[in-house]
């Protein structure tokens, strides 16, 4: 599919699409909070998420036609005013957020009823929409401080949403607390870093900042700012070893939140980090290269190996997948550490692939959670017989996670590995291969239990997910497959995004 040829909205609407992709879920959140019933809240949520995704698609088409889009807020030109600045990379991630958000909203109809107290539903939907608006805003904005604001918008609500999982699993509460503390520290570090950069450059607009930072790479404040921003976003992105909050938050929160966060939250933070690493900070600054070479690459490798091993030995299924998410972030950072367009493009593609596959896996588990409140891996024995469609969708996600050919995950791993070889980083290549084998081991365990083992006698019987869950679930799984066969849509955005960032660099 060629995005250039994609006109999904009238020109007048397309011109406003970037802001509408943020504002509609924002207003939707308020409407959901005011909604008279959980059902109404759900409908508002679905409509708002869908409109946001639609606008994101319009933006993506426009970006492919016009290149970078600037949208001035308040009618003031940057750097005085705030501007949204959407390049292909942002368009891709926002599209991922929009798509997963819409499907998750549809899914939430059944999932919330099973997992969250009924009186909380409207506020829950409101929090969910706020998180979505925040993430899209974070991705679209071209302003460093505005990014902080949206970072907070996207996280503050989700802390409580994770805690709302307490109805099913009391451990959601300490997990949410950890998440809150770590997330707040991360955001604070980020804003301290932005403060230093502002002190050194006098501007908050990223492009302007980049221009003015050009000769400042020896400045102590800039260096410290770099360290704070990277560490802060590292927490948000679950960069090893700052990932402590993630497994608990994903494992114990409600399914809707696990799936939405796993698919998008870390991606948005990683995206912002890429903006800083490759766009804002000075070209070839010694600290930037040192960071990529000696910090990001080893930490990514450590994440791949250590967290994959943790996933191998995890006893609870959702925890296993959560650890896997940290390991996958490691893969993405390995792609970044190559510091070239093909590595970045591959990493972006990987982010999209991982978002879709993890969303499918968590959604499938959410579908199963409606009928069985299972946690341990053994509890899922033989679910494939009782809930074949759900299990198959999970299996497709898992296959993509492993990197089975004809899934998106394969192409993603392929690209990073190819880029690593082309960049002469044999060791990264080797780590990726080893990580893939470890992934195979734990996914193999899950598949073996789900598909080939007999259910334990007396264990609760799983039921096939209701249609409202099955439809978005199969769409997600289908996307993982479809993009495994024809990856042109994410691929063109990833490539254009990486190219536009590295165009700046000689």
């Amino acid at each position: 599919m060629q995005l250039e040829a994609l006109y999904v909205a009238q020109p007048a609407l397309t011109a406003q699409a970037p802001i509408l992709a943020i504002a509609v879920p924002l207003i939707g959140a308020c409407a959901a909070a005011l909604a008279p019933s959980g059902r109404a809240g759900w409908m508002i949520s679905v409509v708002a998420a869908m409109v946001s995704a639609w606008m994101a698609l319009a933006v993506a088409g426009e970006v492919m036609r016009e290149g970078v889009i600037l949208y001035q807020l308040g009618g003031f030109a940057p750097p005085a005013g705030i501007a949204l600045r959407v390049d292909a990379m942002g368009a891709l991630i926002a599209l991922l957020i929009g798509a997963v958000g819409t499907l998750a909203a549809v899914f939430s109809g059944h999932s919330l009823a099973a997992e969250v107290r009924p009186e909380k539903h409207t506020l829950f939907q409101a929090g969910f929409l706020l998180a979505q608006a925040g993430m899209v805003g974070l991705v679209y904005t071209g302003d460093a401080f505005n990014a902080f604001v949206f970072l907070e918008v996207s996280s503050i609500g989700t802390y409580a949403l994770v805690a709302a999982g307490e109805r099913r699993d009391r451990r959601a509460l300490p997990a949410a607390f950890n998440y809150l503390i770590m997330g707040t520290i991360g955001a604070t570090f980020y804003v301290i870093g932005v403060g230093f950069l502002y002190g050194a450059t006098g501007t908050l607009n990223m492009a302007d900042m980049a221009a003015r930072l050009g000769t400042l790479d020896q400045n102590a404040a800039v260096q410290a700012g770099f360290a704070f921003i990277v560490a802060g976003l590292g927490v948000k992105a679950a960069m090893f070893p700052l990932h402590g909050w993630l497994p608990g938050a994903y494992a114990h929160g409600p399914s809707l939140i696990s799936l939405f966060l796993a698919a998008t939250a870390t991606k948005a933070a990683i995206y912002l980090m890429a903006r800083f690493l490759f766009e804002v900070f000075p070209d070839g600054a010694a600290f930037g290269d040192m960071f990529l070479q000696w910090v990001l690459a080893p930490l990514g490798a450590a994440a791949v190996i250590v967290c994959s091993l943790q996933a191998v030995f995890a006893r609870e299924l959702r925890r296993m997948i959560a650890f896997s998410s940290v390991a996958q972030v490691g893969f993405i950072f390995l792609g970044f550490s190559l510091a070239n367009a093909s590595g970045l493009s591959a990493a972006l593609f990987y982010m999209t692939a991982h978002g879709l596959m993890k969303a499918a896996m968590f959604m499938a588990l959410g579908g199963l959670a409606i009928s069985i409140g299972a946690r341990r891996l053994e509890d899922f024995a033989g679910v494939a017989r009782e809930a074949p469609w759900t299990a198959v969708a999970f299996g497709i996600g898992a296959a993509s996670l492993v990197g089975t050919p004809l899934t998106m995950g394969f192409l993603a791993k392929w690209q990073i590995m190819e880029a690593a070889l082309a960049g002469g980083r044999i060791w990264i290549f080797a780590v990726m291969a080893a990580g893939s084998v470890l992934t195979l081991v734990y996914v193999g365990r899950i598949i073996e239990v789900m598909f080939f083992r007999e259910p334990a006698p007396g264990a609760p019987r799983a039921k096939e997910s209701p249609v409202g869950v099955l439809v978005p679930l199969l769409i997600l799984a289908g996307l993982s497959l479809w993009f495994g066969i024809d990856a042109s849509l994410p691929q063109q955005l990833a490539q254009a995004g990486a190219a536009s960032l590295f165009e700046v660099r000689p």
Partner: protein, 497 residues
């Protein structure tokens, strides 16, 4: 869509369609097996049409999808692949005929799943045979691993499950850790993985990188069972005889050596191979495999296990052929792939026939059995001749070409290993038939058949056909060699002895 594309599409979809139909009519064994046979015949006709078209210089090609630029799922038939496809599809038919007798005779469970997996395996084989690039080959190669897994564990016993795990872990592990990295390496060096006559990498890599890639790709194709990655093959012998016959003599292992041949001919090319030190190392390891596997085969009393070790040895022939720094080696390897397949499927079918009739599966149990099952043991004898490389069996030619090529390229060690292994196989195969046919009395001489009537007639027909084929191909070797000549990018006659 032109005729060529249609043919490839047919070759790929026919087995899938057959599998679906078999599933649909699974409750009616007669319909199910008729359907299988019809599918076999259809597939063989399609494969032969493709074979003919390739011979006429009009190779069919088809691109299905291109997930990423430079990474396409595409098919393009060349002589080796056409030959492989014909061989596999014809032998599928023969083997299905055999299976009908065997599976009914043994009253095996899960027969529908068995036939479905066979059809799916054929889908994998067709994809491998026609693949236009390494990536496509890899796809179908992996698919073949997974659809044959249920066949290996068919018995459902703990031993079968253990064997299945070894099978899966070895093959998938090698694929992920060696083969796939190798493919990515090729892609990153050459920008594509398309099979190119004369060698895709030729002139694009230095000796070090080329050696690494060659090692990755040859060992990654663990289905070729090159030592030390051979362990899965003997252990997979827990599967029923038809599975061993088709998969472990024809489809799966041949997919492995086929991949090695393709890599050698089209990714590296004879010119590059001749400059790579790794090729020599692999050659030596293959020579070692040939001798060691023959020696091990000698010690095995279980008939199928003995045959399996013989297969390990014979596969190493093909691998060494692919690594010879001489273009004619490729042709010899291609021929040997086919001739060995025909001979080995005969042997396995004979073993299955003996088992289904008497329940005997050990060499020591068959003394004197030949009187009561003359056809089976004559066929066995003929196939043994072929494995050893005696005239008038086709395999003689391929061995002869291979040994000549080894001498011609100065690989004395390999040549010596080939000759030694021939002698060894004489020792471990001939006594089987001789003991059965000529020893006056033994364990098998008296007693009743386990199955009244002895070997089912369909099985008997099947194994006689392949035994006869060993002889027929002896005469037809020259056209076949000429047909294969383009893969070495040189005329066969120039290098023929």
């Amino acid at each position: 869509m032109n005729g060529g594309e249609l043919l490839i599409l047919l070759a790929l979809t026919l087995p899938l369609f057959a599998a679906a139909m078999i599933y649909a009519v699974g409750r009616m064994p007669d319909v199910r097996e008729t359907l299988t046979l019809v599918a076999c015949i259809g597939l063989a006709i399609v494969a032969i049409s493709i074979f003919v078209r390739v011979g006429q210089g009009d190779p069919p090609a088809l691109t299905v999808a291109e997930p990423l630029p430079g990474l396409a799922i595409a098919f393009r038939v060349e002589p080796l692949g056409a030959l492989f496809a014909v061989m596999a599809s014809v032998l599928w038919g023969v083997n299905s005929l055999f299976s009908i007798g065997y599976m009914r005779g043994r009253r095996e469970a899960r027969q529908t799943r068995f036939y479905i997996c066979f059809a799916l395996a054929m889908f994998g084989v067709m994809g491998i045979a026609f693949a236009a690039n390494l990536f496509t080959l890899f796809l179908f190669y992996e698919a073949l691993t997974f659809v044959t897994y249920p066949l290996v564990t068919h018995a459902g016993t703990p031993a079968a499950r253990r064997a299945g795990r070894v099978y899966l872990v070895t093959l998938v592990g090698a694929s992920v850790l060696l083969f796939l990295p190798g493919i990515i390496g090729v892609q990153s060096m050459a920008g594509s993985t398309t099979f190119t006559p004369g060698g895709l990498l030729n002139g694009r890599v230095d000796a070090a990188a080329g050696s690494v890639l060659l090692l990755l790709l040859v060992f990654g194709a663990a289905k070729a069972a090159l030592m030390p990655l051979h362990g899965w093959l003997p252990s997979a012998m827990v599967a029923p005889a038809p599975v061993s016959a088709l998969l472990h003599a024809v489809a799966v292992v041949k997919a492995g050596v086929f991949a090695v041949l393709k890599v050698s001919a089209y990714i590296f090319g004879p010119d590059l191979i001749s400059t790579l030190p790794a090729a020599t190392w692999i050659l030596w390891m293959a020579a070692g495999s040939i001798v060691i596997a023959s020696l091990v085969a000698l010690t095995k009393d279980d008939l199928k296990t003995r045959l399996a070790w013989s297969t390990v040895s014979q596969l190493a022939y093909v691998t060494s052929a692919a690594m010879l720094p001489m273009a004619s080696g490729l042709v010899a390897g291609g021929l040997h792939m086919v001739f060995h397949a025909v001979a080995k499927i005969t042997l396995f079918m004979c073993a299955g026939a003996i088992y289904v009739a008497t329940g005997a599966n050990r060499v020591s149990e068959i003394g004197g059995l030949g009187r009561r099952m003359p056809w089976v043991f004559v066929a066995f004898l003929a196939a043994s001749f072929a494995i050893v490389g005696l005239p008038p069996m086709a395999a003689m030619w391929s061995k002869f070409l291979l040994i000549t090529a080894s001498f011609g390229s100065g690989e004395w060690f390999t040549a010596a290993a080939l000759i030694a292994s021939s002698l060894l196989s004489l020792v471990f195969l001939m006594p089987v038939a001789f003991r059965a046919l000529f020893s006056p009395a033994g364990d098998g001489a008296g007693g009743e058949f386990v199955r009244p009537g002895g070997t089912p007639v369909t099985s008997l027909v099947a194994l006689c056909v392949t035994a006869a084929a060993c002889v027929v191909l002896f005469v037809a070797v020259e056209p076949l060699a000429d047909y294969l000549a383009p893969i070495a990018a040189v005329s066969f006659m120039e290098t023929a002895p």
